[in-house]
Amino acid sequence: MSVLRPLDKLPGLNTATVLLVGSEDALLQQLADSMLKEDCASELRVHLAKALPLPSNVNRPRIDLIVFVINLHSKYRPEKQGLCCLHCEVCPPLVCFLALAWPPSLQHVEESLHHVDASFFLGRVCFLGTGAGQEHHCSLHRNTVLKLAHTYRSPLFFCDLEVEDFQATMAQRLVRMLLICAGHVRGVSALNLLSLLRTSETPPPEEL
């Protein structure tokens, strides 16, 4: 299947599945471990992916929540792009330049977003920006990620996943969100939560 659809399968009894999409493996692994350490009465399953689409030969349960992890620190990687140029000499240099325009973390996420069905964005997708604490390492501006989240009308969290405490808190928040999206919480649905999490529509003030 090339497009992820929500609610396309029957849910497993007492299980909730989350899909973490991001280009940095270590971060995802740490986040997944903290989430599994969380104390909750339902069973949690965590799937990790570098990019969508997922291979269709694997039998996987229905996915309740997708978290796109964007690393604000990710640097441009010119040598990889150079390899790309060698392979496709026919392609004009302009294409390669465009490929250099975004850091790979955001690029992966944007490409993966095309493989997600529109009805997923009714509260079952969230964006997580990591590394916003160290301003001098950031090659991606906060506003870019904000605009992305605004375009897709999904909640955006900022968290420094390298710091233990923040990671634990973030894992807790994600577990709660996951439980709501999986339908384990009576009276609150994913769409309800989405409209609760909606921030005000005024654009953030420009930084000096």
Partner: protein, 247 residues
């Protein structure tokens, strides 16, 4: 490209696996009771989950039955539409909350009524509370009324002050216009042509009179009469000294 990690097992299933020993010991019986309690909670929780999930699936089915417009909508129109839909969601939520509040209020009032009917109406605590509430409400209403009246008075005073200011402004304006008019009239009068013509005529008459006077004086002198003796003749001759323009 994809991996999945194993799950954390639920507390209940571990429990139920662990206490599988049969026996007549009381603590095992207690454990069995705890186990059945856990099972009950698990079942109730699963029931709630299933209900919620069923609700979600139903709403998805209902949503898909609505026809989505297939024509291509412009970018900014999409934004506006999405915002409209979001506002609709908010409104529905607010309406739901208000209805819940109203329901809760109604339930509370019926429960209170039943409680009052059940107990003796001379039941002190509740009645004291209600009487106190009524007293406080009366006080609140009275002080609100007083403050409202004071505000009205303040407003009247301010209105009067404003009116007085406006009246004084008008008067000063009138005075100013009057002064300006007077000045204008004066200037007009000074510059008017009539005055100039009159002045010219005056000059002419003065010259004519001067000439006539000179003629009389020369007549008298030429007649070789003794004008120093007659006072009228003296006056006529000596009038040469006076400047006629000073008369």
């Amino acid at each position: 490209m994809e991996r999945h990690l194993q799950e954390q097992t639920a507390a209940e299933s571990a429990d139920s696996g662990g206490t599988g020993r049969a026996g007549g010991l009381p603590h095992v019986a207690g454990a069995q009771e705890a186990r059945s309690d856990d099972r009950m909670t698990l079942l109730l929780r699963l029931r709630a989950q299933t209900k919620q999930q069923l609700l979600e699936y139903k709403s998805m089915v209902d949503a898909y039955e609505e026809k989505t417009p297939e024509q291509i909508i412009q970018e900014n129109q999409i934004e506006a539409k999405v915002e409209d839909l979001e506002n609709e969601i908010e409104e529905v939520k607010i309406a739901l909350e208000m209805k819940n509040l109203a329901l809760a209020r109604m339930q509370l009032s019926t429960a209170l009524k039943k409680n009052l009917e059940k107990n003796d109406t001379m039941n002190s605590v509740l009645m004291d509370n209600m009487k106190h509430i009524l007293k406080l409400n009366k006080l609140v209403m009275k002080s609100q009324q007083e403050s409202w009246e004071l505000e009205e008075k303040l407003l009247d005073v301010r209105k009067k002050r404003l009116q007085l200011k406006q009246a004084s402004e008008r008067k000063l304006l009138e005075i100013q216009t009057e002064k300006n008019k007077q000045k204008e009239d004066l200037d007009n009068v000074e510059n008017s042509d009539k005055i100039k013509a009159m002045q010219k005529n005056l000059q002419k008459e003065i010259q004519i009179t001067t000439v006539i006077q000179h003629v009389f004086q020369n007549l008298i002198l030429g007649s070789k009469a003794n004008w120093a003796e007659d006072s009228a003749l003296k006056e006529t001759v000596l009038q040469l000294e006076k400047n006629l323009t000073m008369i």
